[in-house]
Symmetry: C2
Subunit: 341 residues, 2 copies
């Protein structure tokens, strides 16, 4: 069985470029007892993958040069000698940026397409959704009537953060890029307000829509949006630090106020700033799936997918993600999804 693979060709300096990826076919070994073979249907593209392309110290092992790019996928079993999996089963697994794979079944979760669309398992009901859930509820702890601000508000994580904040009785304010995204965040997702980080008056714009200050700032991007949000934090504010997309391609540290100033604000305003990584939080998966799955079935929480066809296009789609060019959860459709009309 052949697998089309996207491998890391070289480590990017700054923005990843096409030359950092290598697209090639590999011949997979046949399956033996206890193994199964899958074809990948949906590949999730997420900002964290930029970190995996670097060998800087991080919380996770980098992808090696020549190795298949890592990534969450929904796949269908095409052959099985594993007692728990049968031909045709749908599974969630980390098969990475490739069309086919062989597995011993460890770490796979079966998916029931009658329960929710398959692609949601790598989106709103997958890692991005869980990231929103634990960051907002466990670290942000929004209370009724408080103001929650989330950056990258139209994205896979931010869109869930704001909608969850609303469900919990808080005001939700988004920061997004294009006018189209800003409109989507208020009109479709139902946030109370949304401003654009492209505005020259971002701080004033944000202040205008946060008349009572900010109680929770859910941090996805860093940079100017962080500056603006910090200047508006209320005493006892909480800042879950989920990501800093604006810094991922940076080759030098961002200029800006000193660490000392931030520490003084933390003290004076009794802020809590806490970083987290979703993979440390899988103990919350069951509660998340029950709660957020319910909101999706009820229509209280909606999601948007941005689908790129064909694995060959994954590198370009990923480069666009880091520049904010996606609109909704970015997915690559690697092969046909038989459950979709």
């Amino acid at each position: 069985m052949k697998s089309l693979q996207v491998r890391l060709a070289s480590r990017p300096v700054g923005e990843p470029k096409a030359e950092n990826f290598d697209v090639a076919e590999a011949e997979l070994p046949g399956i033996t007892d206890g193994q199964l073979a899958v074809r990948v249907i949906w590949l999730s593209l997420d900002p964290y993958m930029r970190g995996r392309m670097s060998d800087a110290r991080s919380y996770a092992t980098p992808v090696g040069i020549g190795e298949v790019m890592t990534g969450g996928t929904v796949a269908q079993v095409v052959a099985s000698k594993h007692p728990k999996f049968q031909d045709g089963d749908f599974v969630l697994g980390m098969f990475g940026w490739q069309s086919h794979a062989v597995s011993d079944g460890v770490g796979l979760r079966k998916l029931d397409p009658a329960h929710a669309p398959l692609s949601t398992a790598v989106g709103v009901l997958g890692m991005p959704g869980l990231t929103a859930y634990v960051g907002l509820l466990d670290i942000g702890e929004p209370k009724e009537g408080e103001t929650v601000v989330v950056s990258a508000a139209s994205g896979a994580v931010g869109s869930v953060v704001g909608q969850l904040a609303k469900i919990k009785g808080a005001r939700a304010v988004g920061v997004a890029g294009s006018a189209e995204k800003v409109a989507y965040v208020t009109e479709q997702l139902g946030f109370d307000a949304c401003v654009s980080h492209r505005s020259d008056t971002l701080r004033d714009d944000l202040k205008a829509v946060c008349p009572n200050g900010i109680d929770v700032y859910y941090e996805n991007v860093g940079g100017a949006t962080l500056d603006a949000a910090l200047s508006l934090m209320n005493p006892f504010g909480r800042i879950p630090v989920c990501g800093m997309i604006s810094q991922y391609n940076a080759t030098t540290l961002a200029e800006g106020p000193s660490r000392s100033q931030l520490m003084r604000q933390i003290l004076t305003d009794r802020l809590k700033i806490q970083g987290f990584i979703v993979t440390d939080r899988y103990d919350r998966l069951k509660a998340f799936l029950e709660e957020v799955g319910g909101y999706i079935r009820d229509g209280r929480l909606i999601y948007k997918e941005d689908i790129t066809q064909d694995l060959e296009n994954a590198p370009e789609a990923f480069m666009g993600l880091l520049q904010g060019r996606n609109f909704g959860k970015l997915l690559v459709q690697v092969s046909e999804d038989p459950t979709r009309g």
Copy 2:
């Protein structure tokens, strides 16, 4: 009744100087129904008072020019027309830097000298002790076998932090100034190790005594000690931010690494950095008094007092505190303590 008072004469720029204080006598009004008069015995001097001398934005109202300096005190009732207080009663209250005061009884707590030495009510069993308790236990959450580092380790707060950490089964490592303090921290307080922030190799010294990294860094000082501690934090480390003494006299923000770098470390290492102010945490007073009072009676937790005689000397003692010249909890004995031998 006359009261000798230390008032704020002018706001300091940088280090407070004698000229910023004004020592003078005031004539207090006679007490009316519902009031009581006290003579102050013990005045606590604490770093937070530097903030009260400035009118920069803070969590507390600054002392006004010409007003009596704020401060926690132990006092004895000398006259009472208040039903709950009698002549001779000992009380804890915020009477400030003065020898006598009139009160309506609001916010006063009666003290039983048979329970613990009176001076401890503004020290190890008072605000500094509670500060150590809530910062370490509620924010730091040390676990058995973890490494807790505390700056200003021989001080009123730091000495309790380290001893509590030991009682909870953690390793306690201090950072202090003089060789005498460093020796006291390990030999008397029983910390596992202590290094000096005056060393040119502070970071290496700290690393050598924290072979497994740092899980909790209890922040009292900022500056170079913070730099060293941050560089050694373990994943999931916690940093309760209690104070930044080294910065209190600063007229400009400390140079140093950018905020952006700190935010990235928070994310990568999943750190929690949280500021707190003890006055927000008085709901923990009862638990604190029971638990830490018990340790003191058992001799498991010891404390050291640095006593300055006479209110006139309070300004100089306070200036020394900000420079780390005190050794132990700094107190001013304003008048005789009849319960002390």
